[in-house]
């Protein structure tokens, strides 16, 4: 079984190369079939690896270069249920995206499929690597492929968004490399386990704070954490819908997964103080959830709205990771899965709108979706999940995170996060009512304002595009039962067992089973109710403007105008400002970590 370890990465990369060579002689849809089979095969292998590692995690040393006397000579993949599970989850999303994009790209050469498979390989490698150098290489690989896929349709009118995405994320790559150089200069190690041990023997100093700020800053750019998040709406509005599903479903969350991996396998044992780090991450997460929620609610472009909603949910995910406990981590893992499934499904619905209704602007599309009631129902269902519907994986994760927050005494935080997520749900429900039911006030001059003129290929059957949507959102809701939670608590405990993991990797020590993260107490019905109330109430308010007392509507608008105008000014679309915010965020991280 262990010999299969490289395959979730190597197989998609190899098939991508083959596709590039033979792409031009493949029959119609040949590349679609090959890509789907490859994604599925790599995913199944990742599932097998996750199951094999569920008893004891193991390291795979490339070329058989085992460590000597606790010094890593070769490069390792460390397989644990969380990492391999992430790779399997990525494969599932790619499989769904390939179904959606069946016949989507007319041209020969299968370049789209090759790029997507490289993307999948990079994500799997990022999730499973046990080495900081390879962590960077896979991070870079996924960034570069993502840049190419974003600008894939060179005729797209929103190509400027691809430039903003590439510049901000390239700055992130350089930050990460500088951080890695700093850490390597301090310790002489690149293997996670060995780095952790080396740092444990050193006093924490400014250099460590600098390295953490640079590396976490880079991961937060990709993970869309405020104030590093500005690229996300621009990138999602230009990228093809199946690519957006991958971006929001796994690429953005996996960056935060990487931050958790680094914390637990490298920094947890070092002198890095938990005392400033925990509140720092929790507050970054809370700010992210709120800014993302309000900004999502004010969007009228469906894909930008969904992208900002991802920001809001990444905030909650960061709170889960930033609590630095295995219980919250288990919640974060479930949350990552549940959010990724539902959000990928929502972006694919955006793709259905682009291909069937020739638009993505909520106001121009008013009533345009009346012919597609099933699509509309799933869009609304996705909105309810985003708002905190108390069923399914995302809710389960949310609940675990809320419990862990309450245990630290920040009892006001869970309702705040629920309101933030409820705002994104409100935006989605408002869109569902307007587009698929034709509700809401008559668009006046608003419909004339310029929007992106976008459309995606239209001659594909709706049922084919709806199939992956139903499967993804259905899975997010159906997989709620106890086993998923138990598996997550077990995986999180293993993930957070810093010392044991290092011993297993470097000394080939036998694995001592660790106790699963503690079980949560009974579910509290308050948080989901808050989120749903915010979502349904605000959506109803927006759609019913004409039927409400005019004075009430005007007062509400006047009260919220400064907030929305401020957020709009903040997201000004100028790439230099985005980078300036990134610098500000990284300096804030570094200063707080260094001073405590």
């Amino acid at each position: 079984m262990q010999a299969l370890t490289p395959l979730p990465v190597a197989l998609p990369l190899a098939i991508a190369a083959v596709l590039l060579i033979v792409g031009h002689i493949l029959p119609r849809n040949g590349a679609d079939i090959i890509a789907m089979l490859t994604a599925a095969a790599a995913g199944l292998i990742a599932v097998l690896l996750a199951m094999a590692a569920s008893e004891a995690p193991f390291a795979y040393w490339f070329g058989g270069w085992q460590p000597r006397d606790g010094v890593a000579i070769g490069i390792a993949f460390v397989v644990d249920p969380a990492g391999a599970g992430c790779a399997a989850f990525a494969a599932l999303l790619f499989f769904a995206s390939f179904i959606f994009s069946w016949g989507y790209f007319d041209e020969v050469h299968a370049r789209y499929h090759a790029l997507m498979l490289i993307f999948q390989g990079a994500l799997a490698g990022f999730a499973m690597t046990g080495d900081l150098f390879n962590f960077f290489v896979f991070f870079e690989l996924m960034s570069t492929v993502a840049f190419a896929l974003t600008g894939y349709r060179l005729e797209s009118s929103a190509l400027e968004g691809a430039l903003n995405f590439t510049v901000t994320n390239a700055v992130g790559s350089f930050m990460m490399l500088a951080g890695i150089g700093t850490l390597y200069g301090r310790t002489g190690a690149l293997n996670f386990a060995q780095l952790g041990r080396a740092l444990a023997g050193l006093p924490p100093d400014g250099l460590l704070a600098l390295a953490v700020a640079l590396i976490f800053g880079a991961l937060f750019i990709k993970g869309a954490i405020v104030p590093f998040h500005f690229w996300i709406a621009d990138a999602h509005s230009v990228a093809p819908s199946p690519v957006c599903a991958i971006f929001s479903g796994i690429m953005v969350p996996i960056a935060l997964f990487g931050a958790a991996r680094l914390y637990w396998s490298v920094f947890a044992g070092s002198g890095l103080d938990q005392a400033p780090l925990r509140p720092l991450l929790v507050w970054f997460g809370t700010a992210t959830a709120l800014v993302g929620g309000f900004t999502a609610f004010m969007q009228r472009d469906v894909k930008r709205l969904l992208a900002m909603s991802t920001v809001s949910h990444m905030g909650v995910l960061l709170v889960g990771i930033g609590l630095l406990s295995s219980e919250a981590l288990a919640g974060a893992m479930l949350y990552l899965l549940g959010h990724g499934l539902a959000k990928a499904g929502l972006f694919l619905i955006g793709g259905i709108l682009l291909s069937q209704c020739a638009g993505i602007d909520e106001i121009k599309l008013r009533g345009a979706g009346k012919e597609f009631p099933v699509t509309g129902a799933f869009y609304a269902l996705g909105g309810l999940i985003m708002a905190g519907l108390p069923v399914g994986l995302e809710h389960q994760g949310d609940h675990l995170i809320d419990e862990a927050i309450s245990a630290t005494g920040l009892a006001f935080l869970p309702p705040l996060l629920s309101i933030a997520n409820g705002l994104t749900g409100a935006g989605i429900l408002r869109g569902a009512g307007r587009i698929f039911l034709g509700l809401g006030p008559e668009p006046g001059e608003e419909a004339l304002s310029p929007t992106e003129e976008e459309r995606e290929k239209q001659d594909r059957p709706v049922w084919l595009m709806l199939l992956p949507v139903v499967a993804l959102i259905g899975t997010a809701l159906a997989l709620q039962a106890v086993p998923a939670e138990e598996a997550a608590r077990q995986a999180a405990a293993m993930f957070a067992a810093t010392g044991d993991l290092a011993a297993a990797v470097l000394d080939q020590a036998a694995w001592q089973p660790v106790a699963a993260a503690p079980e949560p107490s009974s579910a509290s019905p308050i948080e989901p109710a808050i989120g749903l109330a915010v979502a349904i109430g605000l959506a109803a308010f927006e759609l019913g403007r004409d039927h409400l007392p005019r004075r009430l509507v005007r007062a509400a608008d006047r009260a919220t105008a400064p907030l929305f105008i401020g957020l709009d000014r903040l997201h000004d679309g100028v790439v230099g400002d985005y980078v300036a915010w990134t610098v500000f965020g990284a300096i804030a991280l570094g200063v707080v970590i260094a001073i405590g």
Partner: protein, 114 residues
């Protein structure tokens, strides 16, 4: 090696960032990005440098000769490849944007908001 050597990459990183933040032309901005990237090369090479050590090629050297660290050099090589890819991609995108809009000023190229 003296710690002063690490001031150079810090300076390059900062001046490159300043350029990216204030740039009014995307080709200039892409040039500034490569300045930031150069700072990482200098940092890594400085980290791996050993005074009076040979290049890490052991074809003609006896085993045990001190050599500079080859790991950082491998990192730099990887980074150069990535940098070339990203720069090429960015320039291609910039060319395409210029064809359509006739400008490469980030302030005029704001993607539509909302």
């Amino acid at each position: 090696m003296s710690h002063a050597a690490f001031l150079l990459p810090a300076w390059l990183f900062a001046i490159g960032l300043y350029g990216v933040i204030t740039s009014r032309h995307f080709v200039h901005l892409i040039g500034c990005l490569t300045v930031i990237q150069s700072s990482t090369y200098v940092l890594l090479l400085a980290v791996g440098y050993r005074t009076d050590a040979a290049a890490p090629i052991f074809a003609n050297l006896p085993i045990g000769t001190p050599a500079v660290d080859p790991v950082v050099q491998a990192l730099v090589l990887t980074d150069i490849v990535v940098g070339a890819t990203v720069t090429a991609l960015l320039l291609a995108l910039a060319l395409q944007v210029h064809k359509r809009t006739g400008t490469l000023d980030p302030h005029e190229l704001r993607p539509l908001r909302r």
